[in-house]
Symmetry: C2
Subunit: 148 residues, 2 copies
Amino acid sequence: MRYFEDFEIGRVKRVGSVRVSREDIIDFARRFDPQPFHVDEEAARASVFGGLTASSCHTFALSALILHQSPDEIALVANLGAEVKFPNPLRPDDEIALTNECIAKRVSKSRPEIGIVTTKTILSNASEESVMNMTSSFMVQQRPPTSG
Amino acid sequence: MRYFEDFEIGRVKRVGSVRVSREDIIDFARRFDPQPFHVDEEAARASVFGGLTASSCHTFALSALILHQSPDEIALVANLGAEVKFPNPLRPDDEIALTNECIAKRVSKSRPEIGIVTTKTILSNASEESVMNMTSSFMVQQRPPTSG
C-alpha cells in the first residue's frame, strides 16, 4: 500500500499500464456512450477521427483500473476532486501507461491521522501522446505504526 | 437532433435523468474501480462516506448515457475537451438529473459547416446537490439544409 508518507513532491511514478481491445471499446460505449465513432467501425472511419475511438468515460475508468491493479495501490480514504482533460483519443489495441506526480501534500487539520495529497496523472499511448491529463486531490491514510 | 443553431447562449436545458441501483454501482466498480466504499456495503459504512458511493468514473459514464438517451441528442462531431469535478458522491437509488447551459458558440474557421460549442453540465441528485460539474467543448454539425 502507498501511504501519505510515500508521496514525495516532484517525484514522477510510473504506476502501470493496460491494453484496450476493439471489443472492450465497443462494449463499454454500447452501454454508456454509443456515439457512432465509439461503436461503428465504418461510421468511425468517416468521422473526424478516421477510426474507432474509446469513449472518454472509458478512458477515465481505465485510469482507475490501472491505479487499482498497481502493487502499491494508494491507501485511499476519499477522493476530494479532480479535473480531467482528454487531449487525444484512445484507439483500439493502444497500450496506455499511467504516471503520476505528487504536486502537493499536507496533513489534515481536523483529522491528523489523514493526509491530503494532490497529484498530476498522465495516461499516454505508445507514441507518448497523452490521452488523459488529470489533477486530483484525495485523502490518504498515514502509515499505521508497526507494533513491537 | 440538436444542431449548432439550437444552442442559445445562457439557456439552461434539462436534458434527462437516470436512476442508479446498488447493483449497478457495485458491478461498475468491480470492473474498474473496486475501492471498498464502492463495492462493499460494510466497509463503506465504516468509511468517511458512511455508505456505498459510485465510482466517479461511473458518475461520468452516466452523464454520457443521459445525453445519449435524450430525444434531441447532440449532433456531435467530436469532443474537444472537458473539465470534470465531482463535488458530492452519487449513492444507491439516487435519481440524477442532467442540465446543461451553452456558455459559448462559434462557427469553425477551418470548417464552416461545423460549429464549436462550450457547455456547462451539472448532474444533481434529488436534494439538488451536484454530483458532477463539467465544462466541455465540442464540434457539432450545423442543421442540414432542407431540400425543396
